[in-house]
Amino acid sequence: MALMADAFVAARAADPMVPRVARIAERKREIEDVVTLAIEGGAFDFAPGQFNMLTAFGVGEAAISVSGDPANGARLIHTIRAVGAVSRALAELRPGEPIGLRGPFGRGWPLLEAEGHDVVVLAGGLGLAPLRPALYRLLAEREKYGRIVLLFGARSPQDILFRDELEAWRGRLDLEVEATVDHARGDWRGNVGVVTTLIARASFDPARTLAMLCGPEIMMRFVANALHDMGVAEERIHLSMERNMKCAIGWCGHCQFGPVFVCRDGPVFPYSQLRGLIAKKEI
């Protein structure tokens, strides 16, 4: 028999698996193996924390978080680390070249929920990229939030992403910025130590804090536990998960993490939702 009525959804929409073609407007090398691509030509609407599926034609597709300003709908920004065949091909694209675009997908940062709270934004390595749109929004609507703290950890001084911007933000009086690196030569004047060491010194009130974390999973786990130990509610510690994604819409199954699809139900999740699984092996 034909479809059951309740299986029908809305009208015939375009195939969500087919990318549209956009063009690279600008390419900027950030740090070793990391470039930022700007795409122009269209009105791009996204929520901070969402991602797009980017296609390097003839090579493949990868899920890449949007790293630009949500207020600038004319320019779509992604920051990409060249680690595999697809991301390398994407990172090699030059201005004028076509790129395939699907999205935006996923559930982003809980900025509405953060209103009225102190906000701790904690990024590790390239994890700063998906958090940057949230920072732009937080700063654009500064009056809606309590204290805002940006804590950033990287492997070495050479691996600090968006360094100019971090330094500019550091000059602001309404934003506390602290950075640390895991390894440095003697000529580095900044902090050396793991990112968790920054948390205890930052000024925020755990009881009224919402935290947004993005970085390596191990780092997020340690940071989430440290924040929780200080008194930040698990429901208000949000982290952006990473898993293999092929479709971004819950059809391919690759990004399953226990009961959730990271693409469809995340990538941003409250720690309270993941806690039971994130400490288990090979979920």
């Binding site: 028999m1 479809l3 073609v21 003839g58 493949g60 819409i249 819950g250 288990k280 090979e282 979920i283």
Partner: protein, 374 residues
């Protein structure tokens, strides 16, 4: 829709196939190929496996000769209708560079109208489950929908239970209760079929066939057959709380035990009528002018499935088996609100080492809460 049940004979079935073909349907039904029941194009009644039975057990499948002329005297074969609605390989789009321009063209949707002849109740449940995956969310798969929306289903209520069947446990059979246009119960092998219409289209079609009203005795006979099938399930699974059972036993030592037998061959996922996982791959011509993306079935049993830069999340076979089984019986409910298992038993039969999902669930239940090496 007529509530009355009708009786058709073999000629009536032949006329049914003829009528559906006349309405432009491609007839897909059970037929014998490579010593198995497969769903393939059929033309006439003669393509159906007359007098064929089957023997199914863990890691074991044989066709047998029945001592009657039954048309539907076997249970499900290795393949399900999944291959028609969610094809193993499907091109999604192609792109072509023309000078400075690059054009992407979506693959046109299939226009074929299928009539599924002989779909079993568990399979109708499986189709409904995949409907939720591809049609039930905020995004709709146009390829799945194009293949799915015009399907005419002639269901068959199971007259025998297979050695690995456990639809009764999963509440998915053996009697088809929804999702069909017509449902047949073979009450006299090869000769007499009780017909029930599930849709207006189904009952209208019955009117065009040589048929007569079923007697009370015939209706009772059909019910008795189904009751017998239900009583003879080869397997059983305590499904009521299996979701919670598995969710709280992710570190149970049984996962290590089953992993020591599992070959990670992916057979269970290929034969499963609900498994939907797929991967995509891109191809391009040597000149770099044309490229295309295809979707093909994938399996959570492969190492690559969970690959992220730096390595695969699920390195061990144990974690992959656990992913599959917890998905089927536990997390599927979180994701889609239904079980991911319909109790068809294919994963048991087609496992080369005979791993049995019902036995695995039972083993965990028997030592609920034990923790193993993690």
């Amino acid at each position: 829709m007529t509530e009355a049940r009708s009786i058709v004979d073999a000629a009536g079935i032949e006329a049914l196939l003829e009528a559906l073909r006349g309405q432009g349907y491609s007839l897909i039904g059970p037929t014998v190929r490579d010593e198995a029941i497969v769903y393939d194009e059929i033309a006439t009644l003669n393509d159906l496996p007359r007098g064929v039975g089957d023997e199914q057990e863990g890691g074991h499948y044989r066709l047998t000769r029945r001592n009657d002329e039954a048309l539907f005297g076997y249970v499900v074969g290795p393949q399900s209708w999944k291959k028609l609605l969610h094809p193993p390989m499907l091109r999604l789009w192609s792109a072509r560079r023309e000078g400075d321009e690059l054009r992407v063209e979506a693959e046109p949707e299939a226009r074929e109208k299928f009539a599924f002849i002989g779909a079993r109740s568990c399979e109708l449940h499986a189709i409904a489950i995949q409907d939720r995956v591809f049609l039930g969310g905020p995004y709709v798969d146009p390829h799945y929908r194009a293949r799915r929306e015009d399907v005419f289903v002639v269901a068959v209520n199971c007259g025998v239970a297979g050695g690995a069947c456990f639809c009764v446990s999963m509440d998915t059979g053996p009697k088809a209760t929804f999702g069909f246009d017509l449902a047949l119960t073979e009450i006299v092998a090869g000769r007499s079929f009780l017909v029930e219409a599930g849709t207006e289209a189904g009952s209208a079609l019955v009117e065009t066939l040589p048929h007569r009203a079923a007697t009370k005795a015939e209706i009772e006979e059909a019910e008795a057959i189904l009751a017998r099938t239900a009583e003879n399930m080869g397997r059983s699974l305590e499904a009521g709380d299996v979701r919670q059972l598995l969710a709280r036993n992710l570190e149970h030592p049984r996962w290590d035990e089953v992993a020591s037998r599992c070959l990670a061959c992916t057979n269970c996922t290929m034969v499963c009528p609900t498994c939907f996982c797929a991967s995509v791959e891109d191809t391009s011509d040597l000149a770099g002018l044309e490229s295309a993306r295809s979707r093909r079935w994938d399996s959570c049993f492969t190492l690559d499935f969970s690959y992220m830069h730096g390595g695969s999340v699920r390195q061990s076979v144990k974690s992959r088996y656990r992913q599959w089984m917890t998905h089927k019986l536990s997390t599927w409910r979180d994701q889609f609100g239904t079980s991911g298992c319909v109790g068809c038993g294919r994963c048991i039969v087609w496992c080369p080492v005979g791993i049995d999902i019902t036995e695995e669930a039972r083993a965990i239940r028997e030592s609920d809460g034990q923790k193993g090496a993690t």
